[in-house]
């Protein structure tokens, strides 16, 4: 564990390094609203945590595993979670995810258009990671 002060110094050093690299110059020469290719809300855990943290910044009221679980599974939360049946839970989440697309219940995080269900799953990853 490093102190906040040391993290700040480290960030400054890294940023100086980043700005000095050739790809940084290429970046600044690019048209202003041209962007690199998008990344994907992938299976990569760190990406999910990243997106989940952003979702929780937008919705701090959901910053608890129990609240997110309730939002994901509603009144069935207790019974579904107690089941500890991974396929059933996955099926429920997938169904809700598809329904979000149909109903337009999406959130935009980091430019990505995510279903609300998907974002909440990522938020769970973030909460889990923090704990």
């Amino acid at each position: 564990m490093i102190s906040r002060e040391r993290r700040g110094i480290l960030a400054g050093v890294l940023l100086t390094l980043v700005n000095a690299l050739p790809f940084s110059r290429a970046l600044s020469a690019a048209p202003r609203n041209r962007r690199g290719p998008p990344n994907i809300p992938s299976d990569d855990l760190l990406t999910r945590i990243w997106l989940g943290e952003h979702y929780l910044e937008i919705h701090p009221e959901e910053r608890s595993a129990s609240r997110i679980s309730y939002e994901l599974f509603g009144d069935e939360c207790t019974s579904l979670c107690n089941l500890n049946n991974r396929p059933v839970l996955q099926q429920h989440v997938l169904k809700q995810h598809n329904q979000d697309f149909r109903q337009g219940d999406v959130v935009i995080i980091d430019g990505w258009v995510l279903t609300r269900t998907e974002a909440r799953v990522f938020a769970l990853s973030a909460i889990e990671s923090a704990s």
């Binding site: 940023l15 980043v18 609203n33 690199g36 290719p37 697309f101 149909r102 430019g111 990505w112 258009v113």
Partner: protein, 525 residues
């Protein structure tokens, strides 16, 4: 016949029945229609058969946005800007003609159905095939398109004039042979002269860069000078009314529009890449077409957005880089003199993904299967009276005030693209085709978004069409309100602009005007 203005004695007074000012797509379309009609026609073109840099400088003016030069987007020669166009053709959608309560100043006095017969005729002039702008018109394409929810998205299509018809060379011979048509080259119209009440045009003044001057009298005049010069000429014709012709209600030059082509973001495939094989450019039976996505009329109404299209714009054939994305965020924040939130985590992402960041930085694309696509929007903008063409104090070589263009894009222009991207994300997600990422500039403020937009010389508005002279410069017949014999054939008459490239609509409106002129001549009006 074709003739050079320099071969006509200076100070000549010329006469014709119909005088067309401007030899671009609109002017030539009308002239062709009048060949063999029972009238004499004179077409005046400021340029010659090829580009002359001194003549081209007559287009120089001021664009306050400073993102394109006026003289670099229009061309003075026979055929006008069709000498350089890309051949993209599409009609406006039916909804584009309608009054939409969520789009200020929307509504045409004519409908899509009114213009449809002329669109069909315009196809021929652009050397296109049959008029087919629905995917169902292309069975081999339709079977590969996605089953979009019509409450959200629909397909948008273009047909391509290929090679793009350059109206000068394409119709030169026909015009040269026409007995009742005289095309005068290197003849720049600098003034429209009216009777004392400014209710009827009596003549126009023609000049060249060598001091020659002539006057042309006609019973009808058609101004076909393009989206900026038409307004400029009306404003500059201010001998009777200081505000110019047709400008009683201070409308000439207002409601200028252009189609922004923003980088809309990108998508990454989650399903079979073949599921998008119908989109982008296709060759079918020797014809080139393009298919894209756009908000359906129902979605436009529900979300209160403009019309637009989102098209695939280049494949991504390499793994995406989240580190590069973080670097972009750091760079953009620094441009704004700030540091991004979560700076530490951005740096961590850069370092974690350093290999891909380096690859992106050097623009090195792997050869490999397509993983996704960049997305580009072509979008409608709000007709805004503050976006306007005026006369600057600078004068050109013929002592005419140059044009000044003051304009900008607005919030609805931006949010339209963002909303369309979200609709696309919902549909491609629902169909398990791809995941969509919106260019975050579309989600921020208008200023950041508007910087660095791409434009393609689609100048529209300035002499908008409306039945009420208090709300439009020309009426539904493209006649200037209050002036009995002055007409406009140009994208300047567009009250709204849809997302479609304007050329096909310009030509359709020109053909419609030609019919009107012919019938009014026949009726002896």
């Amino acid at each position: 016949m074709l003739a050079e203005f320099r071969d006509i004695e200076s100070q000549s007074i010329l006469s014709t029945d119909i005088c067309i000012v401007g030899g671009g797509a609109a002017g030539i379309s009308i002239a062709r229609e009048l060949i063999d009609a029972d009238c004499s026609v004179m077409l005046l073109e400021s340029g010659g058969m090829s580009l002359n840099s001194e003549v081209q400088k007559l287009y120089q003016g001021t664009n306050t946005r400073d993102d394109f030069a006026l003289h670099a987007t229009r061309f003075r020669l026979l055929g006008g800007t069709t000498s350089v166009w890309g051949g993209w053709c599409a009609p406006l959608d039916p909804i584009d003609f309608e009054t939409r309560d969520w789009v200020p100043n929307s509504g045409w006095p004519i409908s899509y159905d009114d213009l449809l017969p002329f669109y069909v005729r315009a196809q021929e002039l652009c050397e296109l095939g049959v008029y087919r702008y629905e995917v169902t018109d292309w069975p081999s394409l339709a079977e590969k398109t996605l089953a979009l929810d019509p409450a959200k998205l629909e397909h948008k299509m273009w047909q391509f004039s290929r090679p793009p018809t350059s109206f000068g060379p394409a119709y030169e011979e026909q015009m040269r042979r026409a007995a009742n048509l005289k095309v005068l080259l290197n003849a720049t119209v600098t003034q429209i002269i009216t009777d004392p009440a400014a209710s009827r045009v009596t003549a126009i003044t023609v000049q060249d860069l060598h001091g020659r001057r002539a006057t042309v009298h006609a019973s009808r005049f058609v101004i076909a000078c393009g989206g900026i010069e038409t307004s400029r000429l009306l404003l500059a014709s201010n001998k009777i009314h200081s505000s110019g012709l047709g400008n009683r209600y201070d409308l000439v030059g207002r409601y200028f529009m252009e189609h922004p082509h923003p980088d809309a973001g990108g998508m990454l495939l989650t399903g079979d890449p073949e599921s998008l094989s119908a989109y982008g450019f296709r060759e079918i039976a020797g014809e080139r077409i393009a298919t894209a996505f756009g908000p359906s009329p129902a979605a436009q109404e529900r979300h209160r957005i403009l019309n637009s299209s989102i098209a695939l714009n280049g494949p991504l054939s390499h793994a995406p880089s989240e580190g590069w994305d973080s670097l972009i965020k750091i760079s953009r924040a620094r441009e704004a003199g700030k540091w991004p939130e979560n700076l530490g985590s951005h740096i961590a992402r850069v370092l974690r993904d350093l290999g891909d960041v380096l690859r992106e930085g050097y623009h090195h694309n792997d050869e490999g299967p397509v993983k996704g696509y960049q997305l580009i929007a072509r979008s409608e903008v709000v007709p805004n009276p503050e976006n306007r063409i005026t006369l600057s104090h600078d004068r050109d070589a013929l002592d005419c005030n140059r044009a000044q263009l003051d304009w900008n894009v607005g919030t609805l222009d931006r949010t339209t693209v963002a909303s369309t991207m979200i609709l696309l994300a919902e549909e491609l997600g629902r169909l398990n085709v791809a995941r969509v990422r919106v260019n975050e500039l579309l989600l921020e403020d208008d200023t950041r978004w508007s910087e660095g937009l791409s434009w393609f010389g689609h100048h529209m508005g300035g002499t908008r069409m409306h039945v009420d002279p208090r709300r439009g410069v020309v009426d539904a017949d493209c006649r200037v309100h209050g002036i009995s014999n002055l007409f406009v054939a140009s994208s300047s008459v567009f009250p709204t602009c849809g997302f479609a490239n304007p050329t096909l609509t310009i030509i359709a409106l020109a053909l419609r005007l030609a019919d009107h002129v012919k019938s009014s001549m026949a009726a002896g009006a």
